[in-house]
Structure formats: structure tokens, C-alpha cells
Amino acid sequence: MRKKKEAEVTKPAQDKATSVLHEIMAGDPVRIALSVLLGFIIGAIFMVVFDKNVVKAWADFGADPNYALSTVWWTISDGYGALFRGSILNFNGDEFATIIRPFTETLRFAAPLIMAGLGVALTFRVGLFNIGATGQILVGLAGATFVSTRLEMPIIIHMLASVFAAVLCAMLWGMIVGILKARTGAHEVIVTIMLNYVALSLFTYLLRQPNLLLEEGGGGTPKSDRPDGTARLGLLFGPEFQLHYGLIFAILAVVFYWWLMEKSTFGFRFRMVGHNPSAARAAGIKVENTFVWALAISAGFSGLAAANQGLSVDGGLTTSIEAGIGFDAITVALLGGSRAGGVVMAGLLFGAFKAGSSTMQVAGVSPEVLGVVKALIVLFIAAPPIIRAFYRLPVPGPKVFESAQKAKAAKVIK
């Protein structure tokens, strides 16, 4: 192995940082499942500890130990039961539509998370830590809103044109990151954070312009008209459900992502650059261009999520329509191990959290518990050693002949 002397001193630290990052972005399914489980367990502890009845029952534990224990059980099952009723099946309902409505709500919330999550996942696999989905969604929203409120077109075509505008605007926005990185070496994390701010202000600015996005007769509030009926994403299963055509776009996005990453030559090169950019370069791949394309396509997925948001509302749009999707998308991509199937599962889980939180509130459990669960899951995924320590898992290592020794030795040196 060739090593430059200069690199020698800093090498171990860098190796550790990159290997942890790779471990996080690669996402081992077992570890992810255990992280989710641990998140729920700690969420349950929160519910129990801050429940008045439980605290009271445990204060006189001696009087009725059975009661004290059963309050714990009931609190947890009430809380998570409400989550289940709000997000999967509502057994209290008396007709079929009411029973399955929660699940369709989960799907509705999951769709944009999956679309934007795929975008972030794509950049993870190219070895980029893209946290710019928020900005890309906002710019996509601007595009979609302009086409859907200011242009007149026939039904369906108008909708498709609006979706296309969202995707295109987002892609151009994402491309800026790629070009800055390729040309100047700017780090994508910093660039995407800054562009998120720029996008938010830009969208607000556009929403205030009477000849661009501001609602007709609107005043000082940055708010658009509602999208034209011809441009709206129609309801999938009639007025009883809110689920709309965004779901179809999400399914198409998943299939496309899977094909792109696993079957196409583009995906092969994306993955190659992600795993080993210098080998990719030696194999004739223009790594910088790959970054630009990966970031553009990634942003395209976020643009799809933007279209889902901007073309499904009944009223006018404000910046709040982004609804934290760009940020959740990072979590979804991490949780999904950057694979198509994983992102779908993670998107459904987070969609369920969104769908179920109101039912939980009705059941007397503060839905913020879900926020804690969500954050903890990410925390555990981001710090693999915590999960390994909790479940006493072995340290993953190249289970190999020769290199096993060196890996071990390297670990010890660290």
C-alpha cells in the first residue's frame, strides 16, 4: 500500500470518521430495526413517567402493586394503541371506509416523504451528504405553483405540466450544489444548508410578487392562490378518502429509483463513485460530473415531493406547505439504508407517525412523544456503537482471511 508520509499522522482519525459515515449511510437492516425498537421502548418510558395516573399509582405502590403495574401497561397500550388506530386500522369504526381510512392517511403522508427520501438516499449512495431537500422542495413548489395558478391548460396536461415544472425547478436548484462542488470543491453540506435559507427567502419573495405567485387581490401576506382545478392531483378513491394521485407518483418514483440504482449503468457509476471515487476516476469516470448529475436527479425526486404538496391543497399556499418534509427526508433515507425498499418502509413509518399523532392527542398522550421517538431513532442510527452496546452486538468487521488481522490491529491502534 502506498501512503504519503504527510497523510500518515492524520490517517487514523480520518479513517474512523469516514468508516462511521459509511456505516451510517450504508444502513444495516438489523441495526436499523433494533434502533426503531429501542426508540419505541424509550418513547414508552416517556409516556409512563409523565402520566399523572401512573405517578399516583406508584406513589402508593404498597397499597396496590397490581394496580400500579397495570397502569403502566395501560398507559403504554393506550398511547401506542391510539397511534395504531390513527395510522393503520381503526377498529372502532363501523364501516369499511372508516376502518381503513387511517391507513390511507398514512399513505398520503408517506408519499412525499418517500419521494424526497429517495432523493436524499440517492446522494448518500454517491457518497454525498445532501441536506438540501428542503430548499429543493421550496423551489419546486415555486415552479409548480406558478404553472398551476398562472397558466391555463386542459385537465391532466395542466397537472403534468405543473409536476414537470416542480421537478425541473428543483433539479436546476440541485444542480447548483453539484456545480459548486465540482468546480470549486465547496462542501455539499454547507452549500445545501445555505441554499435552504436562500430558497426559503426566495419562495417567500415570489409569494409576495403580485405578477408571480401572490394571490389575486392579496395584500402583505405571502400567500398564493389555490391551484387551478385542472392542475390539482385528483382523489384516488373518491371523496371518502383524502388519498390522491401523489401516491401513484411516489410508486413510480420508487420503481424508477430501484431501476436506476440497481439495474442501470448510471446507478453502477453512482455507486462506484460513492464507494471509491479514486477507483472510479481510474476507471474513466468523470467523478465531478457524476456529482452534478447525482445532485440534479436527487433534487428531481424532491421536486416530485414538492408537486405532491403544492398540487393537493384546497387553499392557497404559504411556505408552511413544505411541512418539514425536506428534513424528514434525511431521516427517511438514513432509516431506509438508502435502498428503495428501505425508504418505502421508513417513509411509511414516518407517515404513520404523522397520521397517528392526532389520535394520540385525543387519547390524552402528547404526540410530541413521537417526535422524541423519531429523533432517538435517528440518533441511534447515527451512532452505531450505542445500539451495539445496548444489544451487545459484535463490531462489524471485514470477515476475511488476511485483512481480519490488520483490521483488528488497526482498531487497537486507534
Partner: protein, 499 residues
């Protein structure tokens, strides 16, 4: 100080890296540990140095059992180690590096650099190291840096010195100097464990030789044994150290490099206006100590590094301004010196690695989709043809041994439609069996009329393969000589003395 390792066993999962190894080291003795990569030499030394804990067995110093939970304790007990890759801070001076970690301090806890300087001066003078305590490490040649490492150990009163592949980075002359130093240390009562796979050096300096194979001590050999005998012990079967070669059938000039100048990432001239040409059916070996511009030369030919001035031509096609893909498509094959960094994607399967540069078209791709059936078919064929020892084509490249990884790279590069093959350190970190195989493949390519350029720092390899030898020193070609040139002369050329 007497050292004994008794029945040391170290396991990693199911792999037994050290299997019941026992050895003794007398004061003032040079013991050579000889073995292939992965034989367990480094593991054993890491156990001795406290970096690893043995599963079984004992370490005895002067017949008393000791246990080291870390290198600090090993050092305190008088064991010093010079690693293959130096543990020095380039921007610090020699004195600062030597005292790093146990700095002498003045009255108020201030760093007493004067004491550090004195210490370095004293040791340097005692052994004739000729090291200036105030020189910055980055300004010193590699051989001197290695002496600083040795001083570091001696400064902590090491009585046993472990040298891990110390000659890998040295010129033949520097190697001779190191041998002298080793003899001087020995005369002073310091014991040395000398880890290497270079037979010639072992024969020169060792008092005793212990051969390790697959984690076991297979035999103790005398330094009088022939190179062939030692190699056979290392590998466990008869080895033919000479690569069989017919006389070359020289064809037309295919690779022409003219007045090439290349800068490195810090804009220093690494290749300094060199010119050479290589013919079809010929192997040109570029010899030289590592870091004299060979890496940059290879990268420039491949288009990985921008050419500052000069030109490169392959079969009449000007490739001076071409990018990597254009160079590859012009028929250049490239075996990089660091396969893990530039030659393979560890997380990819063997089948994927065999198509690394083939994603742009046939046979691996149909349009923008990978042709999986074709890919797997080609993988199966190449695994068979290039004798890649693997459970399956879907095994990840990182799980293969060094030799088999290198065979994957060789298979990929040689299976393309080649005109020119550039092979940089083609057998570095590769077991003897694979070295034989890879050398045969390279000679076969030359016999098939390809133009071959070998870049190697190992004189043995250069002499085994070359039809002509170009020696590089500080970015220039000192001379291009024929393959019968003596080692001594090549050694001088590698130090910059023109023939």
C-alpha cells in the same frame, strides 16, 4: 535482555493468525522472521508490542512472565518497534519527534528542547547515524527518517528492536546502510527482530531465521540456506524464482513519451521533462525508489493527472490532452500501484469489479442498462482464466486476499483490447504463488505483441521481467540500460548517479 515467546496463539474469529508459536531471542542477536503477507508475522509482533492480547501463551523477558496491555508497557519493558509506515510528524524537528510523548521538562513544566537535542545528538553519535536534531522530518530522506524512528526507540532504552519490513522504502544503498546500523546495534547488545519477505537481506544480516507460514513456525533456517530453499519454505512448495522468458520479438514503437513534465497536487515538479519510447513485444521496466515521480508518470499517461508540458502518444494517437476514458479506449490497460485505492471497489462483487471501466457500452451494457447475464458470464470466464480463488463471483472484493484482489485487477485490464499495459507495482503485497502467476501473465502479454511498461521499486521484479530498464531519480530518467545491468550499477543509478 533475553526474550521468549512461548506457545503464542492468537485467533480472530475462526481464523488462527498465530498457532502455538514459540521463539527465543538472545541478547545481541538478529532474528529474522520470514513469511509471506498474511502469514502472521505482524500479528505476532503486535502481540509482542502489546497492541494485541494473545489468546494463549506467554511472553517472558529474562525468564519472567510479562503482560502488556498496550505499547506503552512494552516500551517501558524495553521493546521498541519501527513500523513499516513511519509514525513521525513531518513538520516537527527530529528532536521534537524523538521526545514526543515523554518530553523532558524544565523547572516550570516547560518543554526542555535542549535536553531533547542532546539526547538525539548523543545517540546519533554513538551509532554513527549522522542525524541533525534540528532538521525537520519532511526535509529528510526516507532512510534518515527511518533512523529517526530507531533513535526514538533507543531514546526509550529499547533493548529489543522490532523492524517491520524496514527496507521496503529504501534504495539498495540505504538498505546496506541500515544493515550496518543493525550490526552496530547488535554489537552494542541490542537484539533485533527483523521482519521481511526479501530473502537477500535475510541472508546478509540475520543470525537465525524463523519461517512462518499460515500462522505456524514451519522451520528454523540458517542464513546460509539458498534463496530458493528459503522461498520454498515460505510458500510450502517448490518455487521457481526465475520467470521464464523467450527473447523478445520487438515490433514497432507504440508508446512514445516526449519531454513530459508533470506536477503533483502541490504544484511541485514530480516528472521533469522525460522522454522514452516502448515497442510492441517489449517490457520496459521503470526502476527507482518510491517517490521519485513514477506514480505521477503513470497517472499522467493514464490521463489521471494533468500534463504540464510534453506529449504522450499511443500507436500514433496523441493522448496528451485526453481524459482517462479516452486513454482507456485507445487501448491502454492500467494496473495501479495501490489496488485498494485505485483498482478496486471493495464493496463491489468480483463480477462488478471486473466491469468497473466497462459501464459505457458493450459487452457489459445494453443501452443504459447493465447486461447482467453477460456480466456474469464474463466474470465466470475470467475467474477461471486468471485463477482467482474465490467462493463465487458475487464475493465482495474486500474479502479476497491481496493476491486474488490483484488477479481481479490484472484480469480486468488484460481482458480488454490492449495495445499498451502500464503495470505499477504489479505484485506489491501479493503472495509468492500469485507473483509467479502475475509475472507469467505480464510476459504472456509481451509475447502476444503488447507494449508493456512495468513500474517497480523491487529490483528483483525489475530484473525478472525487463527487456530494458529505465531508472528514475527525482523526476528524471537517469539512464535507460539493458536488462543485464548489474544490481550494483542499478543501485547507484537509483541514487541518482548516472551510468
Amino acid at each position: 535482555m533475553k526474550l521468549e515467546l512461548r506457545n503464542i496463539t492468537k485467533r480472530f474469529g475462526t481464523l488462527v493468525a498465530n498457532d502455538n508459536i514459540s521463539l527465543t531471542l538472545a541478547p545481541g542477536e538478529i532474528l529474522s522472521l520470514l513469511g509471506e503477507n498474511g502469514a502472521g508475522k505482524s500479528t505476532l509482533m503486535n502481540v509482542l508490542y502489546g497492541l494485541l492480547q494473545p489468546d494463549e501463551g506467554q511472553i517472558l523477558i529474562d525468564d519472567k512472565e510479562v503482560k502488556f496491555s498496550g505499547p506503552g508497557e512494552a516500551m517501558a519493558a524495553g521493546i521498541g518497534m519501527v513500523h513499516q509506515h513511519f509514525m513521525l510528524i513531518p513538520v516537527f524537528t527530529v528532536a521534537e519527534n524523538v521526545v514526543l510523548g515523554h518530553e523532558p521538562t524544565g523547572k516550570v513544566g516547560n518543554l526542555d528542547l535542549e535536553a531533547a537535542r542532546k539526547l538525539v545528538k548523543e545517540i546519533s553519535d554513538r551509532f554513527g547515524f549522522d542525524i541533525d536534531p534540528d532538521a525537520k522530518i519532511e526535509d529528510l530522506p526516507v532512510g534518515a527518517q527511518q533512523r529517526v524512528e530507531i533513535i526514538k526507540s533507543l531514546a526509550r532504552d529499547a533493548r529489543i528492536l522490532v523492524l517491520d519490513e524496514p527496507t521496503a522504502v529504501l534504495t539498495p544503498q540505504e538498505t546496506d546502510e541500515l544493515m550496518e546500523i543493525m550490526r552496530g546495534l547488535k554489537a552494542n547488545g541490542t537484539s533485533i527482530i527483523f521482519i521481511t519477505h526479501k530473502l537477500r537481506e535475510v541472508q546478509k544480516v540475520a543470525d537465525r531465521i524463523i519461517v512462518i507460514r499460515q500462522g505456524k513456525v514451519v522451520s528454523e533456517a540458517s542464513p546460509k540456506a539458498t534463496a530458493g530453499e528459503l522461498a520454498s519454505l515460505m510458500v510450502g512448495r517448490e518455487v521457481d524464482l526465475d520467470t521464464k522468458k523467450k527473447a523478445p520479438k520487438i515490433g514497432p514503437e507504440t508508446l512514445v513519451v516526449k519531454d513530459l513534465t508533470v506536477l503533483d497536487d502541490r504544484n511541485q515538479q514530480m516528472v521533469n521533462g522525460i522522454s522514452f519510447s516502448v515497442h510492441d513485444g517489449e517490457i520496459l521496466a521503470i526502476a527507482g525508489v518510491q517517490g521519485n515521480g513514477q506514480t505521477e508518470l503513470a497517472e499522467a499517461i493514464l490521463g489521471l493527472r494533468k500534463i504540464h508540458s510534453g506529449s504522450i502518444e499511443v500507436a500514433g494517437q496523441d493522448l496528451t490532452k485526453s481524459n482517462v476514458r479516452q486513454v482507456l479506449e485507445a487501448g491502454v490497460g492500467y494496473i495501479p500501484e495501490d489496488r485498494k485505492k485505485d483498482g478496486l471497489v471493495g464493496q463491489f462483487s468480483i463480477a462488478e469489479n471486473l466491469m468497473l471501466d466497462g459501464s459505457f457500452g458493450k459487452p457489459f451494457a445494453k443501452g443504459v442498462q447493465i447486461d447482467f447475464a453477460k456480466r456474469d458470464e464474463i466474470a465466470e470466464k475470467l475467474i477461471e482464466e486468471f485463477d482467482i480463488r474465490t467462493p463465487s463471483k458475487d464475493t465482495l472484493a474486500k474479502q479476497l486476499s491481496g493476491g486474488n484482489q490483484q488477479k481481479v485487477v490484472v484480469a480486468r485490464e488484460m481482458s480488454r483490447d490492449l495495445k499498451v499495459l502500464i503495470a505499477s507495482q504489479p505484485t506489491r503485497g501479493v503472495d509468492v504463488g500469485s507473483i509467479e502467476f502475475i509475472h507469467e501473465q505480464i510476459v504472456a502479454a509481451r509475447d502476444a505483441g503488447k507494449t508493456v511498461v512495468i513500474i517497480s521499486t523491487e529490483l528483483d521484479e525489475v530484473l525478472a521481467l525487463a527487456d530494458r530498464i529505465a531508472v528514475m531519480y527525482r523526476g528524471r530518467i537517469v539512464g535507460i540500460v539493458d536488462a543485464k545491468t548489474t544490481r550494483e550499477k542499478l543501485g547507484k543509478m537509483m541514487a541518482g548517479i548516472a551510468a
